[in-house]
């Protein structure tokens, strides 16, 4: 089953854990699978039209899925998906 790695700031939406496993053959399916388990996570990553929120970068196999096939990018079984919002801090 693919795993989604969750950065600390997004963990409250998935019950505080660092990784979520979800079924699915594409990025969109895996994220939707995680959203079925954690509705707050769905609100975080999907726009109301089902597209990916623009502030999130999603990586599979070290590559930005926007430059693969977006939500339709195939996900091999056991793959790790990383989702990432930009960080702001310069430590003022």
């Amino acid at each position: 089953m693919p795993t989604i790695r969750i950065p600390t700031l997004l963990r409250p939406a998935v019950g505080g854990v660092a990784r979520v496993e979800a079924e699915g053959a594409t990025i969109g399916e895996v994220l939707a699978g995680a959203a079925a388990l954690h509705p707050e996570f769905g609100d975080l990553v999907f726009e109301s039209d089902g597209s990916l929120k623009r502030f999130l970068a999603v990586f599979l196999g070290g590559r930005d899925v926007r430059h693969l096939r977006g939500l339709d990018t195939p996900v091999p079984p056991g793959a790790e998906i990383i989702i990432l919002p930009a960080a702001a801090g310069g430590a003022r």
Binding site: L10, I82, A88, G90, R92
Partner: protein, 384 residues
Amino acid sequence: MNDYHDLVRRAKEQITEVTAAELAARRNAPPVLVDVREAYEAATGIIPGAHLAPRGVLEKAMPQIAPDTSTEVVLYCTVGNRSALAALVLAQMGYTAVASLAGGIAHWRVNGYPIEMPAGAGDTDARYARHLALPEIGRAGQQRLGESRVLVVGAGGLGSPAALYLAAAGVGTLGIVDYDVIDVSNLQRQVLHDTARIGSLKVDSAAATLSALNPWVAVETHAIRLEASNVAEIASGYDVVVDGTDSFPARYLLNDAALNLRIPVVHGSVVRFEGQLMVVDPYRGPCYRCVFPVPPPPELSPSCAEAGVLGAIPGVIGSLQAVEAVKLLLGIGETLAGRLLVFDGLAGQIDVFSTARDPGCEACADPDRPPVLVDYDEACRPVR
């Protein structure tokens, strides 16, 4: 337009010049001598007894060098042009007995008058011995670092280690931008500053620390908030910008400015135990907006003040920014242009992700139409 030569010619009409022979004749009662060249130039030898005050810091340094404005002062540079311009400025400051050495130290040298090495200058080989031992840097690379100019935006958690390592590396000119003053809560990670300087401007503290570490680095301070109206003027003329800002509006503005000026930027950011790093090589690799087209909503992008940060995390990311800046300056290695490095300190993990230019990027899609410089609000919408 009045170009450099027009300005120099006009300055020489308004100021007093002395010849090398006239100056040499004053051996027993010399005027106050000020070398206005950059430190890396002065490192090749100065007129004995000269004070060093590169033009960028001359106005600030003069009250310490000559508190009495009636003091007789002779300025010199390499051939006498910059010192002529500098003499005009000293006159504006109220100095009444200023002269410029005609022909500069070049005339002084060809007449066979004595030259001395400025204190510490002879240590160059020793100071940079570990660089000189690296085939990728060596003597040519070290010389190039000495002629380089880097702008560090933010003298905070990221800017502190970045600026310290760049100064230590012998980068000739470091610009530091920060409008803020030092607060006790900064000292947990902002290693440029110290307890005695609480309440001082961060740029002044940075200049003091960096000059103490490496007096051959010229530090240019900009105690100002970066805005659309000033960012191009401040950043132009630098070879690399290090982004240690602490907000999305500042990051997007800096990205826009870098595209306009075609200056590479090393972006770093941190929160809690995590850090991110990427290099923007304008129009050759993805820009910040290609990777993060819009900022996260405020609840997902807390500042370090709100969400906290382990002090050593900006230490890691800021140090990596210095590494990337040196690589860009010297053209060595593979920079992080087109890649996003993510450090998770708690997990003990570093990942590097490939990114690419977004053909529809709002900022960099069209090289012939760089983004208009506008200020952004917290959601990074243009403020009019």
